[in-house]
Symmetry: C2
């Protein structure tokens, strides 16, 4: 069977940074070209990054994106790569729309598109039909749907093109192209990581490859963008449904592959609603040998670890922070965050601060100190006793007010060091705490990035044990002190306090939160699964009442299918518990 | 011409509080019934409040809403009002959808509907066709569109029914119904206040009334829901295009009106795609005289004032806060917020705190004191000099770090008083500051509600002057000290500081911000309007860099067409200035 040599270019774009993103695509093209690729496929909106949100509504943004696309086509030609078809994702517009749409103040005027660059020119452009508007996606807000189905004919192969959500839906372009003898289906994606994503993404690609009897080349973007982490994991699946090519997890990667095309040169009538574009001048496939595939992990905890470290690294670097700072309490949450940050950035860019109070136990300072030594990060101790006494004495604080002021003195202290020394403050709260509001707003919630905000407490422990075991297996010192893992969790804001004074056991709490927040079940459905009714209602009420705090919280990497943030949009003012509980 | 007596029920629902909302509708029905109304029209989602956001994705929420609707129908019948048609807005579902939609994790399964209650039963249900997904609206996320056009035949009149956005679009049900001899078009709405709304809402209703040759009854909801304030302003416009009925601004209101129906009993073929429902047993119109209309203001500044006080009052009351507390600096922002809060809640629910530092001028404390006396609110002074010295000495703070720690000590102080005494903290930043990031995060930004977050600094001054003039015209003491209005604005975080050390003149800044943020223009478009290029780029960069702070900010009432919040969704990590500025 004849052969087509295709490159998958999995890039890590910075939203809005067209010169950086175009330069990255040009460098990938060089790698692909030198390996004899005939075409290179990059991810969804690879030119501008994803998600661009309301930037898509700005004419100037759209016009400059168009200009960058044309410049990239010229640069590819100028560098002698004009005979390789390069597929680039970009917003296309502003389009002129019908009257009604334009009376609306902020109506979308762009399509979410992918264009083929060849011979120094933009040869064809496909616009995404299905605009996801659920979970973290808002594409109906920012884009208008495409209406045309496109077939690219190049070097004897007919290639279909879809963008992300188009592949997930059986109507629209999938329906139009099914039955047509495609040699190849090209699919740029911006598909963020979540723990269960691998169990839905690959089966879907496999199903479509078999149904449509074609190779499916699925290219994702990589890297962190605010709360989203794109895990890469680009792939090719053969018409028989076998995954033949895999790109790296989370990182930039160019993977070149030879595809045996069964339907090479096949002629068939064009399906209704489809347009075919002849791409003349695509080079013959190279014959140089291709490098062997790089081994990839399939350990689910390692993937979560990589997701979070990628999220931290890209937030810090893409926003030009020199370093991060965080409070080290001796507890498990801050220990895990420090380990993650050190793996992400190196110990020289991580600064820890022990901030003991009168209620801190001795082991707290010792555990923090041991952690800092294990990780090799910069560590200092700044007590808060005198700072807190100032507020307590002046205002006569008692009870919760006196507890919170300790957390807030630590917040002020970390922000002062951030202002003085230029670090980004990391806030160390986990998803279980965030859910039930077990945190002090403007206290321990202070910071620009929250590494474990989507990690439930039980997973915090799992990840800590996993990281220590990994160190052990490599003959390194386990970073996290065993005592930080084993001792009962405590906020240490009053004598002998533990989390379980105020909260249900974390094993139980996390099960209820998984059903409530991630699976989207409501109270009666959770009770029906065997949880105690009063407890379920208590948790539902806590989660509802903490909405205002979460709204003022830092962003952090999403690792589940429903993180707190744009995944889950609920009013602050609502009487939800009345709705959840039969009156 | 025959007569139809219609009641407009403009309610102030609490999101999620079905028993409260149903009770309110029942009370409105009593008023309407006693005035002889044949039908009562309420606003969009009047049973559940608007916007319900992701609550619409929960089966239990939908099932309980359905149950409440049926109970309300029974209650109306039981109270002897079964022969008045009552139109209630509610989410309808969960509907069973096609395969593809349900594979998506959080797919919408409800319609945004309105039902007619009559004779103790739900007689007919209309589902909204056009789901707004722009500005503050996310309806494509949470609802599926309706497909049927409905005509209600009652007491010899054919009434069409549309929901909100349906009226704004000329395709869909408006197209279907145009040309049919409707006597009346019933339109429930949830249309939030913005300063220019009156200039678009009434002309649109007028245009449709004339085009479709029918009375249009437009009923809005009223009151504050988180950041949105629904201004009421329900109306009836006659087929000739005259506004014949107006409900109150912002408040609950039942307005009953007699309509002369030109097309009474007219027979015409049913338009394709429409269904007609006969509503048997609607009573004859009452003949009791109707009360004269209540006078309404048309002062644009008074409407802004009412929008903000409504937003404060409803956030505080719907979330059951006993009182509010805020820092009084002697400056204009906190003075305006205190005046607004006092007008919203009464002086006994407002607590002011003067928090002088070493850099506070003498007039600051005097002006704060005078304000508190004028307003009659509880006032105390808590200096921060010692609190700040603790941090300064321990950490050796200088420059920006030393400035910010003052604002943060004030934040801790206010939160401690909030924890100790139960007040909601109001944060007093204005829109201009929020735009350019001229605030200390976890300092002056601390609080659960931000009354003037959508008020630019120049409008802050206007509103202050308006409120003082209003007091003067009523023979009362102007609440805001003249000195707070007239002195140059300063954060007073270092000696002799003024805002204009760091920022352009507010007149100029607000003009640029209006173009950038509200009108959505980009830098070249603003420069083309005659503003200095370097200044425009500086402002664009400041606004872009402050995105992370705004994300952690409190909500507050939206009074413009683009407030910071769900109106304007932009990535934190982006290199926008590169896109705005030709490279």
């Amino acid at each position: 069977m004849p052969r087509f040599r295709l490159a998958l270019a999995q890039t890590n774009p910075i939203v809005g940074h067209r010169s950086h993103n175009a330069q990255t695509l040009l460098e990938c093209a060089r790698v692909a070209y030198d390996q004899g690729a005939q075409a290179m496929l990059s991810g969804e909106l690879s030119l501008t990054g994803y998600p661009i949100e309301d930037l898509a509504l700005r004419d100037n943004f759209l016009e400059l994106s168009r200009a960058s696309l044309a410049e990239l086509a010229s640069a590819l030609q100028a560098e002698g790569m004009g005979d390789m078809a390069v597929i680039v994702g970009h917003p296309d517009g502003p389009h002129t729309l019908a009257d009604d749409a334009t009376i609306l103040h902020s109506a979308a005027r762009a399509t979410n598109s992918a264009s083929v660059l060849l011979g120094g020119k933009i040869q064809a452009t496909y616009a995404k039909h299905h605009l996801p508007t659920y979970a973290v996606f808002d594409e109906s807000r920012t884009f208008v749907p495409g209406t045309e189905t496109l077939i690219l004919r190049m070097a004897g192969v007919d290639a279909g093109i879809l963008i992300c959500e188009d592949l997930w839906r059986s109507d629209g372009p999938v329906e139009t192209l099914t039955g047509y003898p495609l040699g190849l289906l090209l699919v740029p994606n911006a598909s963020p990581f979540q723990r269960d994503k691998a169990t839905v993404r690959e089966p879907l690609v496999t199903q479509r490859a078999q149904e449509m009897n074609t190779h499916v080349a699925y290219v994702n973007i990589a890297g962190g963008q605010d709360d989203l982490v794109f895990d890469g994991d680009s792939m090719i699946v053969s018409p028989a449904g076998h995954r033949t090519v895999s790109s790296a997890w989370f990182d930039e990667d160019v993977t070149v592959a030879d595809l045996e095309i069964p339907s090479f040169g096949a002629e068939a009538p064009l399906p209704a609603g489809a347009r075919r574009v002849e791409l003349a001048g695509v080079r013959a496939p190279g014959s140089q040998p291709l490098p062997p595939p790089t081994p990839r992990t399939d350990d689910p905890l390692e993937l979560v670890w990589q997701a979070i470290t990628t999220g931290i690294r890209d937030y810090v670097n893409k926003n030009s922070f020199p370093s991060v700072i965080l409070g080290l309490s001796g507890g498990i949450d801050s220990a895990l965050c420090a380990s993650l940050a050190t793996d992400a950035l190196g110990p020289e860019r991580v600064f820890g601060v022990g901030m003991p109070s009168a209620h801190s136990s001795e082991h707290s300072l010792e555990d923090a100190q041991a952690l800092a030594e294990n990780l090799g990060l910069s560590y200092r101790v700044e007590g808060i006793t005198k700072l807190v006494a100032g507020f307590d004495e002046q205002l006569g604080l008692t009870g919760l007010a006196a507890e919170n002021v300790q957390a807030r003195a630590r917040g002020v202290l970390l922000m002062a060091l951030s202002n003085q020394e230029g670090h980004l403050v990391l806030t160390t709260g986990n998803k279980s705490e965030l859910a039930v509001g077990y945190s002090t707003i403007y206290g321990d919630s202070v910071g620009g990035f929250a590494p474990i905000k989507d990690v439930p407490k039980t997973l915090v422990w799992e990840l800590a044990r996993w990281r220590n075991a990994r160190a052990q297996s490599l003959g390194e010192t386990p970073p996290i002190p065993a005592n930080s893992i084993d001792k009962p969790p405590s906020a240490e804001l009053r004598p002998d306090q533990t989390d379980q004074d105020s909260l249900p056991d974390y094993e139980l709490l996390d099960q209820i939160l998984e059903l409530l927040v991630v699976q989207g079940y409501d109270a009666p459905q959770i009770v029906a699964r065997g949880f105690e009714e009063a407890l379920v209602h208590e948790v539902v009420a806590l989660v509802s009442r903490a909405e205002w705090k979460r709204r003022q919280g830092a962003i952090g990497p999403r690792i589940s299918s429903v993180a707190f943030g744009r995944d889950r949009r609920l009013p602050i003012t609502n009487t939800l518990s009345q709705f959840e509980r039969p009156e």
